[in-house]
Each structure stands twice: as structure tokens, then as C-alpha cells.
């Protein structure tokens, strides 16, 4: 399943970007990546991978069956410019679904890197035999990601009103989106 990586994409400005699973060797580049995410966005991190100790533990205990972290690496200098994680459950009752989280470096957000990463995730999830993919986005913060997901056939599954509290104490909705992966007939 992972043997097709790295997968190359090319941005509109001609830069080659490689998508591939993260490894422990990416620790420094990932620390740099998370460190460059604006404070107000880091606030919404669930796993707190912006904490070097937590990131180290995460990378040390990588188990691609539970969480598949894909990084987008700019080929010319090795800089990590986006990060996606596909979270899967080992519980049989949840073995058919997975959750994705995606984060693009603020300097690289108009290049459709996030869209390519979500598409890559959808294809990987299909190839893993998963049936449904979920993504959660903070309303008013991750609108670009919501737009990218909708273009890739994600649908609104529901909204958790006031589920998230931002750094200023303002309640925000959590948008839950999903995409069916194993639809029986092509609707083309």
C-alpha cells in the first residue's frame, strides 16, 4: 500500500513536492513546520504535536495501522510544507472508518497542496478497504479546508454547536464531514 510513495505533485510555480509517510527522521523538519503555524491556529491542535516532546513520542511510536502521517516535502530544500494524518481505529466496530486531519503551512496555502493531500488520503483509504472517511473542521477557521473537502465529494455530516472554544474564549462550531469510499455504482 505504501510502496507507491513518494508521490510527486507539482505546484503552479513549478516546484516539485513529494508526498510520503513521515518517519522519525522528519522530527526536526516537523518541529520547524509546527513551530511556524500561527499561535491562534496551534490552539486548535488536538494531539499537540507542536510540543517537541509529544511529537518525539508520536514519531517514536509510529504505527501506520493506527495513524498514517503523510508529509508534503518541497523537493528542492526538504522543507515540510503540509502534514496530514489518517487516524484509524483497531476496534472492530470502527475498523471501517477513519479520520483525517490536515494542516498546510501558512506560506503555502494557495497552492492546492491540501487538496492533493486529501485526495491522496481518499485514495489510500480506498486501497486500504475503508468504507468511510471523516474530517472535522473548526467553523470560521478552517474554511479553506472545508472547501477543498467539498470539492473532493465530502459532505456535511453534522455540526457540533459550540464544541470548540478558541483562544479568546469564543465558542465555535465543529463541522463534521464525511466521504463514502465504497459506493456501489459510479454516479458519473
Amino acid at each position: 500500500m505504501l510502496k507507491d510513495y513518494p508521490k510527486a505533485i507539482v505546484t503552479q510555480d513549478g516546484d516539485s513536492v513529494l508526498l510520503r509517510p513521515a518517519t522519525l527522521a522528519d522530527e526536526n523538519a516537523l518541529n520547524e513546520f509546527f513551530g511556524e503555524i500561527p499561535d491562534q491556529e496551534q490552539w486548535f491542535f488536538r494531539e499537540k504535536l507542536n510540543d517537541p516532546k509529544i511529537l518525539h513520542e508520536f514519531l517514536l511510536n509510529l504505527d501506520y495501522r493506527r495513524a498514517l502521517p503523510i508529509v508534503a516535502v518541497r523537493e528542492k530544500d526538504g522543507k515540510i510544507i503540509a502534514n496530514l494524518r489518517l487516524h484509524m481505529s483497531m476496534a472492530p466496530c470502527l475498523g471501517h472508518v477513519a479520520h483525517l486531519r490536515v494542516m498546510v503551512h501558512p506560506n503555502f496555502r494557495a497552492l492546492k497542496i491540501g487538496s492533493w493531500m486529501i485526495l491522496d488520503c481518499v485514495k489510500t483509504a480506498m486501497d486500504l478497504g475503508l468504507e468511510k472517511l471523516f474530517a472535522e473542521f473548526v467553523a470560521g477557521v478552517e474554511e479553506a479546508a472545508v472547501g477543498a473537502a467539498m470539492k473532493l465529494d465530502f459532505r456535511h455530516e453534522g455540526i457540533l454547536k459550540g464544541y470548540i472554544k478558541d483562544k479568546k474564549g469564543v465558542y465555535r462550531d465543529l463541522i463534521i464531514m464525511s466521504r463514502d469510499l465504497q459506493s456501489k455504482w459510479s454516479d458519473f
Binding site: 516539485s16 485526495l119 478497504g129 455504482w185 459510479s186
Partner: protein
């Protein structure tokens, strides 16, 4: 008349030939077919038009049209002496195709199909294997584009994601890997797939040109 007997009598009609026993009788694989090969052949009934699916090739003349193209390649599986039960087609991309911008570097495995009545014999693997078993491909970036709306999901009793995985497994056995592109037909559905095999003599420079072309940046 072209039939297995005719083929044996006129080896100029094919470049290579293999025969094997199957649960459905003797099947003959013919590669590098030459013009005239399909005279008096018959398309077996499991190739054709069905409620949710139509074969890409529905007339024998279409095979001959492929053979008329420069370096057009047709590999077929024959049963019952002259019944075409499967095929694999290859040619350079059409001149208006995005990939034609790289000239003869690019070579498309345009179609592979096995009759509904002869599935489960690994004929697809044999067809692709016989087609790809040629030094010709070491100078090429061979590619296939799999569009989910062409797939016989009903006949295979698979959904599009499962069919996609089947295609990936089949082509990966011959050194193909999935690549991404913004070519509009491929991006139309996530199940769609482009796979490539880079020949051993293809230069790094040509590979880079192809990578850029996949994202709409034409070679200078």
C-alpha cells in the same frame, strides 16, 4: 481464413504465440499481431454491450485500426480456434492528447479487457505480461489511465474502489505505480487512476519533463 490453424500456417500474422490449457479448453495468446490477423476472427459474446457496461472494442475493425497506428500493438487471447476472448491494446497517445507533447517517449496501454465468459483465468495478467515483455518499453514511459466509468463493475461484482485496487495490483506486477496528475478526466473521480512504468533507459530529464506535464506544465 484466419484461425489457429491459419495462424500456424501463416506465422507472419503474429510476432509471438503461447498456448495453455484452461478450465474452458485450450487458449492461445497472440502478441504483436500484424495487420490482417483479424480477418475471419470473431468477437466472443462476453465482449460487447451490456446494461451497465460496454466493451471498448466492439468491432474487429477496431483492432486493425490500432495495428495501422505507428507502433500500435495488439495482444489477444483466442479460444475455440477463432474467438477473441480478451485483448490488450497499446499505442502512442493521440496527437491532441496531453501526453503527446513528449512525442514517442510516451506509450499508452490503452485498454485491457477479458470476456465476461472467460474471467478468473488470469487472462488479464497474461495479456499484459505478453504485451510488456519487450525491450521496446525500456525507452518509454508506459502509462495507463483507468476511468471508473469504463469498468465492468456489474460483471465483476465489485464497487469502483475495489475495481481500482484490482487494477493497481494487476499493473503493479509489471512495474507500474500510481502517479498523480491534474488531467481533468483523471481528476473527475477519486477512483480513477493513472499508472506508469518508467523504462530503464528513460533519462532523469525526461522523467522530470513528464512530471511537469502531469500538472499542465509543457516542456520547453
Amino acid at each position: 481464413m484466419t484461425s489457429l490453424a491459419g495462424i500456424a500456417a501463416n506465422p507472419d500474422l503474429i510476432g509471438r504465440c503461447q498456448t495453455f490449457e484452461s478450465a474452458y479448453g485450450v487458449i492461445t495468446m497472440c502478441g504483436l499481431c500484424h495487420p490482417g490477423f483479424f480477418e475471419n476472427m470473431i468477437l466472443e459474446g462476453g465482449l460487447g454491450r451490456f446494461s451497465h457496461y460496454s466493451s471498448i472494442i466492439q468491432k474487429l475493425e477496431s483492432f486493425e485500426a490500432f495495428l495501422d497506428r505507428k507502433d500500435g500493438r495488439v495482444t489477444v487471447a483466442i479460444a475455440d480456434s477463432n474467438h477473441v476472448i480478451g485483448y490488450c491494446l497499446g499505442s502512442y497517445p493521440a496527437h491532441d492528447d496531453r501526453w503527446a507533447a513528449l512525442g514517442d517517449l510516451m506509450y499508452e496501454l490503452a485498454a485491457i479487457e477479458v470476456s465476461r465468459n472467460f474471467r478468473g483465468l488470469k487472462l488479464g495478467e497474461r495479456l499484459l505480461g505478453m504485451t510488456m515483455d519487450d525491450d521496446f518499453f525500456e525507452d518509454k514511459i508506459s502509462y495507463m489511465c483507468g476511468y471508473s466509468w469504463h469498468w465492468d463493475l456489474e460483471g465483476k461484482e465489485l464497487n469502483a474502489a475495489q475495481y481500482r485496487s484490482m487494477m493497481k495490483k494487476l499493473y503493479s506486477r509489471f512495474g507500474f505505480r500510481e502517479v498523480y496528475t491534474n488531467e481533468p478526466n483523471i481528476t473527475l473521480r477519486a477512483e480513477n487512476i493513472m499508472m506508469i512504468r518508467v523504462g530503464s533507459r528513460v533519462t532523469a530529464e525526461d522523467q522530470l519533463k513528464f512530471r511537469h506535464l502531469r500538472f499542465g506544465i509543457k516542456p520547453k
